[in-house]
Amino acid sequence: MATEAHGDETGGLEFHPLDQFIVKPLFGDGAVHWYTITNVTLWMALAVLAIAALFVFGSRGRALVPSRTQSIGEVLYGFTYKMVEDVAGKDAVKFFPYIMTLFMFILFANFLGLLPMSFATTSHIAVTGVLAIAVFLTVTIVGFVKNGAGFLGLFWVSSAPLPLRPVLAIIELISYFVRPVSHSIRLGGNIMAGHAVMKVFAGFAAIAAISPFAVLSITAIYGLEVLVAGVQAYVFAILTCVYLKDALHPSH
């Protein structure tokens, strides 16, 4: 669709704000199989490299007085550790590497996606959906393993009057199963919308009369998107912690 559309609209405004999200093979033009090396592979690999560079290469000195890179790694470590401990409780600390993995992957993927010409892996519902379902399954399994049937107490609001409890239980149950949906669409939608808006303004920049405004707008929205990239990664991580707290301590 992309190539055809480009061909059709020669000379006029070119709006293809969603072309940037197309998953395509890195080498050749064949079909996208599950094993094909695509732009998804490239940008996820770059995220892995960036994380390794910051956390492994940056801390190679094991310095008592940290270098700048090591310091950033330590700050992120301390920040995430404290978040897990404060939000999910002390016994959730064993899930810290898991949450750190999710948080750092989303954070780095978001920021790498902001590079011009890059591909934002976290703008895809397939990616955020898997992340959210992984969290949902983890939380549910941990909840039942830790508390047995007592985990169902999460849906039975014992502080409410007895007649209301079944109604609340249904509402709680629905909200519990909606969690992975909101969890994934919040992240994917935010990233996708921001990138699409930037592309739309980039299209307007082709018109001389409003191009200064368009460029200014892109600059402003880019700043906003940098903020969104950090905030959405943080929101995803902290919600994971909140859900984990429910699994470990299901009583209201």
Partner: protein
């Protein structure tokens, strides 16, 4: 493969019109998701596969290398800070002790110096007293001696004056032609000398 089957079912369940038109036009499978690459289900398998690979690698890197290392560095730093603080506390205590010792030594030295000064003063006073007494005695002796000498001189002078007066009177009387009676002259001179 999962993707292909997913793909096929998706195509079947999609809107009839869209599917029909696309099939008729012979568009490639990428175009199926009508504008939203996020809904191009044929790419889901690819994305999910690479996401899982990525997450496994990141998790491995974190659990095997990065997190234990950073935790170790942070613990070591905390330990160093704690021990340094303890050492600083110890040194501070030592400094306080040293200051107290110094103050005590200073006070002792002051007391010692005061004692020495007092002793010296007492000694000097004693010496001084002895010397003064001696000097006083000497002065008294000299004074007495001098007084005696003065008295002698005075007596001698009076006698001399009397003798001179008598001689002078005798001479004067003789030159005037009188013969002087020695007794009378002496009485007269003595009376004059007293008066």
């Amino acid at each position: 493969m999962a993707t292909e089957t997913e793909n096929a079912t998706e195509a079947a369940t999609n809107g009839d019109a869209v599917a029909a038109s696309e099939v008729a036009l012979g568009t490639p499978p990428e175009a199926e998701a009508a504008g939203m690459p996020q809904l191009a289900f044929e790419t889901f398998g690819n994305q999910i596969f690479w996401l899982v690979v990525t997450l496994v690698i990141i998790h491995f890197v974190f659990t095997k290398v990065a997190l234990p290392r950073i935790a170790g560095v942070l613990a070591e730093r905390q330990g160093t800070i704690t021990s340094d603080l303890a050492a600083a506390e110890e040194l501070k205590q030592k400094a306080v002790d040293a200051e107290e010792a110094y103050k005590k030594a200073l006070a002792d030295a002051r007391a010692e110096a005061g004692k020495i000064v007092a002793d010296a003063k007492a000694e000097i006073q004693a010496d001084l007293d002895v010397a003064q007494e001696k000097a006083d005695a000497e002065i008294a002796a000299k004074t007495a001696e001098s007084e005696k000498a003065i008295a002698e001189i005075r007596d001698g002078a009076t006698e001399s004056a009397k003798t001179v007066a008598k001689d002078t009177v005798k001479e004067i009387l003789a030159s005037m032609g009188f013969s002087a009676d020695a007794k009378t002259v002496t009485a007269a001179v003595n009376t004059r000398m007293k008066g």
